[in-house]
């Protein structure tokens, strides 16, 4: 194992270490923290943020950012609510079509992906900075979510037997082998994302575009397509989360997902992904999401006020990045010192100086 590999392992290991320390601390302070039910609650809560953060990782790896995901969560939740409670009105035929529950899921996911594609299109075709393009979408999508039912909630999303659109709540409340679907989805997304980032040409392209767009392009990487795709992935993940939340609540509220984008970015960054692009891993993002999840659940159980929770969360994020920077600097210095020591050891023989005066 080379030094760089070891350093990488340590860097990753440190995040795990921090996670373990947090779990131990909360485990001691709150006797209920390590109970199985609590762990499932923790995982379920984390799943929401982790799924968003997985999509966000793709975007940030290309050097971009997606601020619209929180609003997209709200929009897709509302869209699902609309489809189940009010159906699709085909005005030309004067009929209302109620899609099957599977169709509701598909349409919502497609809508989220489409919004992501719009983000990508604006960014790649018109060269708008990702921050601005997705900030705009943050407002648009949130507004659209409100417009779908004039700012009201779609309540009671159970569907009707005769319309064949029941069972929506299964997604949020159902389980497989005693573990809720949200957690399975998180695991599936994480595995898929890990595979894509590490083992496919597209994944390599994502890193290359974030590292040096120009070099990537000259190497034949289709930069625009790559960027389009990462925003679509992010949109797809946001739609998934929107569906999960609407299904868990059996209701869709237009304010669902406010500030979710910031939690997702925090998880990605905590996981060691560079905001400049080109560096980071899906595993890191998962760990980052769990650090935030453990903090939130743990502090809640200890009865820490939500204001202090916010303060602590903010401090932890910045602290983690400070440590990151310190470690990188220390590593660089160490490498330089070792190199300098090697040179010092070799005899100085080649200098032939013809003296002047």
């Amino acid at each position: 194992m080379t030094r760089t590999e070891l350093a990488q392992l340590l860097l990753r290991g440190r995040a795990v270490l921090a996670l373990v320390v947090l779990v131990v601390i909360f485990g001691i302070l709150s006797p209920t923290f390590l109970q199985l039910t609590n762990i499932e609650i923790l995982a379920k809560q984390t799943a929401i943020n982790a799924i968003l953060a997985i999509g966000m990782t793709f975007v940030i790896l290309t050097g971009g950012i997606d601020l619209s995901v929180g609003s997209l969560v709200g929009l897709t939740a509302m869209l699902a609510g609309l489809l189940i409670n009010e159906g699709l009105e085909a005005s030309a035929l004067a009929v209302i079509v109620y899609p099957h529950t599977w169709m509701v899921l598909l349409i919502s996911l497609a809508a989220g992906t489409l919004v992501g594609a719009v983000n990508g299109f604006i960014i790649t075709r018109f060269n708008v900075a990702p921050f601005i393009a997705t900030l705009g979408m943050l407002y648009v999508a949130r507004g659209a979510a409100g417009l779908l039912n004039n700012g009201n909630t779609f309540p009671n999303l159970v569907g009707r037997e005769e319309l064949g659109n029941t069972g929506f709540s299964e997604l949020g409340t159902g389980e497989l082998f005693g573990i809720s679907w949200a957690i399975w989805i998180m695991i599936a997304f994480a595995l898929a994302a890990w595979f894509v980032t590490t083992r496919t040409p597209f994944g390599r392209a994502v890193y290359a575009v974030g590292g040096n767009e120009r070099s990537a392009e000259l190497s034949g990487v289709r930069v625009r397509r790559t960027k389009m795709l990462v925003y679509m992935i992010s949109g797809f993940c946001a739609a998934t989360v929107g569906l999960i939340i609407a299904s868990q609540l059996v209701a869709a509220h237009p304010a669902t997902g406010v500030f979710f984008e910031l939690n997702a970015i925090a998880a990605v960054v905590l996981g060691g992904t560079s905001l400049a692009g080109g560096r980071g891993t899906i595993v890191g993002t998962l760990i980052g999401a769990f650090v935030i999840g453990v903090l939130t659940v743990g502090l809640n159980q200890l009865g820490v006020s939500s204001f202090w929770q916010q303060v602590i969360k903010g401090v932890v994020i910045v602290l983690a990045l400070i440590i990151d920077q310190l470690q990188q600097r220390a590593e660089r210095r160490l490498a330089l010192q070792q190199q300098a020591a090697q040179i010092g050891a070799s005899p100085d023989s080649t200098t032939t100086t013809t003296s002047d005066s």
Binding site: T2, T4, E5, F195, R199, T200, P201, R204, A205, Y207, A208, G210, G211, N212, R214, S215, A216, E217, L218, S219, G220, V221, R222, S274, G277, G278, R279, R332, A335, L336, Q339, A340, I343, G344, D348, T350, T351, T352, T353, T354, S355, D356, S357
Partner: protein, 534 residues
């Protein structure tokens, strides 16, 4: 300044008058490379102290250490015999060390006046005393024999004038040691003569000058002491009047320049690449490429020569598919290529090894291996995922073929020396299995040994039937390596020579076609001296 302090300084053989500045046993290490190794450099008072060496020899690093930009890993800097710490440019300036960087460090949006006094404004009562500044500026510009309006915005000045402003800026402080990094690279002949008068004037005022340039004859004209660096070490030191240009080259290169090039004769085949009527419009009128026609045969090394901005890089970019706005037709093996971008050109077998490794060739965040395979990922696909084993074997093959010096294929690309990074970029191109390989300044900024290896690789590839298109600004390289040479000037091909016909004079003359006589003279000297350096 006391004699007592002097006596404690080890290794000072000029004990009578302490040197204004001395770098002593300096070692500087960067990730992956050693820029300087135990270098001692004396700045003699009131003299022009020349530093010369190839790209990567360590001149710039040494200069940056003297100017407080970089800190030495080991060793120390003395001024007047006393060790000093120079943690920043400001600290160096406080000690009377001024520096003029090769890349202009002016704010183009501000006026000459604002630039001259930036961060050292003459202040009276809390506000800038513009009147005093203007007077001071006019004095300075007058001393430099320049007729520049102090209120002009810097971006409106010619490059040569900007360089003068840069010099004036250094002189606004009381400098005792002035470091000049390639100060003439953007100056016309008359401006160079003006600069030399300024240097004489500064010497007369007791200012010591550290002078770095690639133009060897110029160094002998202006220099008093010459120090030659090679691969981070001082290899020779001499008084300028004792030596000549061939001596400097010998010291710089460490061997006779001819042995640098490997060139084996090989058969040439059919026309591989045919380019017809390629035109690239320039923003705001005119052409970057003006109806270019050319052919590359299998097994041929076609050299492209031209001045900066002649269109060499643009031509290669068009062929590589980077410039969708270009018109014209390109055939490979008799099949016309579409206009659909880099990926398709690479698929067809045309690949570019770009000029600037850092910005165009490599992705810093990726490892050596991942950089190498970036352009040829499709080749390692196992259904829909990348086969690690196939990637590994391709990378290992290239590492041994091109003798890339790495300890581990997963090591960061940034830890490699310039020459090895360049080999990785070449390897990336080769892994796409091209028919035509385009190399844009493949030897820029790499050491002599790596240059010679790159040439060996080129020669071998031509022998294997690749068509090679090769751009270099260095006349010697183009002449030694090419089977045929095309000269570009202002976007048009102005001459074509076979290997036997070509000469330095002919290439320089053809590269100046279309330029005005005054400009020609200046660029010509630049090109000729540029050709001497390796």
């Amino acid at each position: 300044m006391s004699a007592g302090v002097n006596a404690t300084v080890p290794g000072t053989d000029v004990a009578s008058v302490p040197l204004p500045m001395r770098a002593e046993n300096i070692t500087k290490v960067f990730p992956g490379t050693t820029a300087l190794e135990d270098v001692t450099f004396d700045v003699h008072p009131g003299k022009v102290n020349v530093l010369v060496g190839e790209n990567g020899a360590g001149k710039s690093t040494l200069m940056k250490i003297l100017a407080g930009v970089e800190q030495p890993t080991r060793g120390r800097v003395l001024m007047d015999g006393e060790p000093v710490q120079l943690p920043s440019v400001t600290a160096a300036a406080a000690h009377g060390v001024g520096i003029i960087f090769q890349e202009l460090n002016l704010c183009p949006n501000l006026s000459v006046l604002d630039n001259l006094f930036l961060a050292q404004e003459i202040v009276r009562g809390g506000t800038i005393d513009r009147k005093a500044q203007r007077q001071r500026a006019l004095e300075l510009l007058d001393r430099l024999e320049q007729d520049i309006d102090p209120d002009e915005i810097v971006s409106n000045l010619r490059i040569g004038q900007q360089q003068i402003v840069e010099i004036a800026k250094a002189l606004t402080r009381d400098v005792r040691v002035l470091i000049m990094d390639e100060p003439t690279s953007a100056l016309s002949q008359t401006e160079v003569e003006g600069l030399f008068r300024i240097i004489d004037d500064l010497k007369a005022r007791g200012v010591s000058i550290v002078y770095i340039s690639h133009k060897l004859d110029e160094l002998l004209q202006v220099g008093d002491h010459i120090t030659v660096l090679r691969d981070g070490r001082v290899v020779a030191h001499a008084v300028a009047t004792d030596v000549d240009v061939p001596w400097i080259i010998e010291q710089m290169v460490g061997r006779t320049p001819a042995s640098l090039f490997t060139r084996s004769e090989h058969e040439q085949g059919e026309v591989l690449l045919r380019v017809e009527d390629v035109t690239l419009p320039r923003l705001g009128g005119g052409y970057l490429l003006d109806h270019v026609h050319l052919e590359v045969h299998a097994g041929e090394i076609l050299g492209l020569y031209g001045l900066m901005g002649a269109g060499r890089t643009e031509l290669m970019e068009v062929l590589a598919g980077v410039r969708p706005e270009a018109s014209g037709k390109i055939w490979l093996d008799g099949k016309e290529l579409g206009h659909s971008g880099v990926a398709d050109r690479i698929d067809s077998g045309v690949v570019l090894v770009p000029e600037d490794r850092k910005t165009d060739g490599l992705v810093d965040a990726l490892s050596v291996a991942h950089n190498m395979v970036l352009a040829s990922l499709k080749r390692y696909l196992n259904r829909f995922y990348l086969s690690a084993a196939r990637e590994r074997s391709a990378v290992d093959q290239m590492i041994s073929d091109l003798s890339v010096r790495v300890s581990d294929r997963a090591q960061p690309i940034t830890s490699l020396s310039g020459g090895n990074q360049q080999k990785v970029v070449v390897a990336k191109g080769l892994l796409t299995e091209p028919r035509v390989l385009m190399l844009d300044e493949p030897t820029r900024g790499i050491d002599v040994g790596a240059k010679s290896e790159i040439f060996q690789i080129m020669s071998r590839l031509a022998g294997e039937g690749f068509g090679i298109l090769f751009v270099s600004s260095e006349l010697k390289e183009v002449l030694a390596m090419s089977d045929r040479i095309l000269v570009l000037s202002k976007g048009a091909i102005t001459a074509e020579y076979s290997r036997d016909e070509a000469s330095e004079e002919k290439l320089v003359a053809a590269s100046a076609v279309g330029h005005g006589p005054a400009a020609t003279h200046h660029k010509e000297t630049q090109a000729m001296t540029g050709g001497v350096q390796a």
